[in-house]
Amino acid sequence: MLSQQTDTEVYAALKEGNSQALAVLYDRYGEVVYRLCLRMLTNAQEAEDLTQEVFLNLWRNPTYNPHRGSFLAFFSTLTRSRAIDRHRRSQAQWRMQERWGRNQTSEDRRDLMDKLALNEMSDRVRQAIAELPEKQKTVLEMAYFDGLSQSEISAGLQIPLGSVKTHKRNALLKLRKILNNLVEE
């Protein structure tokens, strides 16, 4: 039963042209992708279009390599990259920084097997973020979702450039610590 299989197995089926596999991956990641698109494009119609584009591209040109990390990491990075591209094309002033998501090798299994898993994980991540000091949280979100550079964040928050870098780094390190067993095997 495809819906019971791991992301890697489902993805293998997708590469073979099994559209059921696409359906399963949509069930698992459709909402995450949509949320990310909505947050970054701030427009429901565009978010919908981009979600569609991202999934269709996955179908037509599958490039995920399970050895490089989780499907979530791959897919969210891809989505973010596409959202940035859309912004680049549609808003000249919006200079989004696309430096994230360098894929490295790893075996990591953390699949969003179903809606329940998505909700649980979402809650945990939200809680973890709520535990971050305000400045760290703000800086990280501005960088990740708004794609702002350090100098833009520094100007926006009226804090020194060096502080921005420190906050961002500490936010990530602390987040990892809190989410320890979601991140490690």
């Binding site: 279009d49 269709l56 037509r60 490039t63 790893s106 979402s122 990530l172 991140v183």
Partner: protein, 253 residues
Amino acid sequence: MTMINPEQTQELLADYVLGEVTPAQAEAVQQMLLDQPELQAEINSLQETLALLALSLPDSSPPADLKERILQLAETKTIPVSPQIVPIWRSEKFIAQLNLKTLAIGAVALSIIGVLGFSNYRLQQRIAVLENQNNLAKIIDQSSGYNHLVNLHGTDNAPQANGAVVVMPKNEQVTMMLYNLPPLSEEQIYHLWAIRNGEKIDCGQFRPDAQGRVIKELPLEDVMMTSTQLLVTIESSQPSFGGTGTTVMVGQI
């Protein structure tokens, strides 16, 4: 090479994952990874942590029918398409006009380009050597400027007709794909017109094949880039001042 303590290492790796290192630092990290492969796990867990950020966003769901639409579009072609041209829609207006039907026709049109493999698409050759989506997006951005896909619909004079025109400025050509065009007599011919400021400019003429199909490349006229509408009309095949014939297809740019 100065030795750094574990804490500094951790900070450097975090900065690396966050894209906040100088090229020199990035190189240093690559070197560290060669010397201490176990640091890979560290980088990875930071990477995965970052990926979880997307989950923190507020609950919001895409429309219920999006899944079905995606699956339908995925099934639309039975011919597998190798990594090919992705339409780059530049203008906000154009994106706003997108709806499912136009996307479906566009998808079919582009898949046909892929299958027919027009070899003089310079973009196509570049895409063939690229490995991942990120680079693909960057290269297309650099080289193409603007690719426009204009969908054409049949008027009451030819309700079954449909098709699309792909405008590729960098290649200075336009590829037109029209289907279900009514057959013509000897004295008739189809013309493509671009409309700008109420003015009709002739962009080419053609006849359909036995299946009512036209797949043709035309030179790109500058006027097309600034026109608002495309028309296909039936004209007399005798030379004359054109533009008085019956309109069979219309497309909004």
